[in-house]
């Protein structure tokens, strides 16, 4: 059972069964790692914001560097109008990053390797961005689907493609993160299984692969969190600064 590479993604209940009416909302290992990630983020940034030294110590520097990193990312991609959404994008980036990173600890659970989690995040972003777009521009937001400078003959086709591309945003956003995390962890598990099955003589090659993959996965964990956040910024940019 342990050799099954998909086994690591199993969700199981921890503690008693909690039911809200007919719906099962029991505390699971996924919930545990969401909670751990959230608490870790709050802890780190709370410590980092407590001291108000002119010359920051390590934790303060970490907090302030992350702050300015996200702030710069938002202002670069979405402009100054996106400032009110800073704390949401910051939370989003940190949540995805910490969930990805906690998933790199052996025997832990990767929250973001579940399509439902990433899809809820992406759908929330999609709906939120669409609402913001309609609030800011009214029905003028629909101009997003009509690129300027397109011949009239091609226009219906382009509009259809644009609408499909817009509607596929939450799917691509969620599947990108979920598939990356799942594929990476599955691959690591498969190589780990090879190490065991090939034994002391042949196991060194997959072991070295496994080590390299761990490094790659840590990179991917950061990169996917970054991509998730920056795509959110780009969608936000479309909604805030309508120029197509």
């Amino acid at each position: 059972m342990a050799a099954n590479p998909m086994h690591q993604f199993n969700v199981y209940r921890i503690g008693p069964e909690i039911k809200l009416g007919e719906v099962d909302i029991s505390f699971t290992n996924a919930s545990l790692f969401m909670l751990i990630s959230s608490i870790a983020i709050l802890l780190i940034f709370n410590i980092g914001s407590k001291k108000k030294a002119l010359i920051p110590d390590k934790m303060q520097l970490l907090a302030e560097l992350s702050y300015s990193f996200i702030s710069k990312m938002i202002s670069d991609t979405a402009g100054s109008k996106a400032k009110p959404y800073f704390s949401f994008i910051f939370s989003l980036f940190m949540f995805v990053l910490f969930c990805n990173m906690f998933g790199m600890i052996p025997y832990s659970f990767t929250v973001t390797s579940h399509i439902i989690v990433t899809f809820v995040l992406a759908a929330f972003i999609f709906i939120g961005v669409t609402i913001i777009g309609f609030i800011k521009h009214g029905f003028g937001y629909l101009k997003l689907f009509v690129p300027s400078g397109v011949p009239m003959v091609l226009l219906p086709l382009i509009v259809i493609i644009e609408i499909i591309s817009y509607l596929s945003r939450p799917i691509s956003l969620s599947v990108r993160l979920f598939a990356n995390m799942m594929a990476g962890h599955t691959m690591m598990k498969v190589f780990g299984g090879f190490v065991v099955s090939l034994g002391i003589i042949g196991g060194w090659l997959p072991l070295s692969f496994s080590v390299a993959l761990t490094g790659l996965e840590i990179l991917v964990a950061f990169l996917q969190a970054y991509v998730f956040a920056i795509l959110t910024c780009i969608y936000l940019n479309d909604a805030l600064n309508l120029h197509h």
């Binding site: 505390f27 996924a30 990630s37 709050l42 914001s49 591309s165 599955t186």
Partner: protein, 196 residues
Amino acid sequence: MLKKIFLKIFFFIFVLISLAQSAESGGMPQLNPEYWISQIFWLVLTFGGMFVVLSKIVLPKISKNIETRKSQILENIEIAEKQREETEVKIKEYEKIILDSKNNAKNYFNDARIKVVENINQKRESLEKEIDKEIESAEKEISDLKNNSREKINKIAIETSSDIVKQLINADVNSSSISAIVEDLSKKNKDKYNEI
């Protein structure tokens, strides 16, 4: 745009194939809806809680920290700039003082030199006057002496010549005739004596 769409289509196909493959080998736990609601519930709870705490408490603090640091650095730079300007003014003042004192020193030196030169000139003039006076008196004395000496020499010559005559011929000679002769001779030989 087309490239993006192609990439997306390719990606979906890849995901679908991988989903199908893993579903064959025991199924994906991700597609088991048993705990979906629970995951959504806990995601909303934890992420929402974290978002609220971060945005209401933690992030304003960090932003305030950064702002205060920025403003403090700006303030410090301003103060430094002010102090630099002040030092520049002070340096200019100092240079002015140095220049003034140099000029003063030069002036003092010039004044002193002029005074000394004047003094020297005055003294030299007075000395020269004195010297001139003395030279004059000396010259007068000399000329007096010269004039007197001729008469004396004449007198001596007359007396000696009368004595000589007396001894040679044992006769008194009229001194006036001798003096006339001496006068005549001395006049004749005046040029010769003057050369001596």
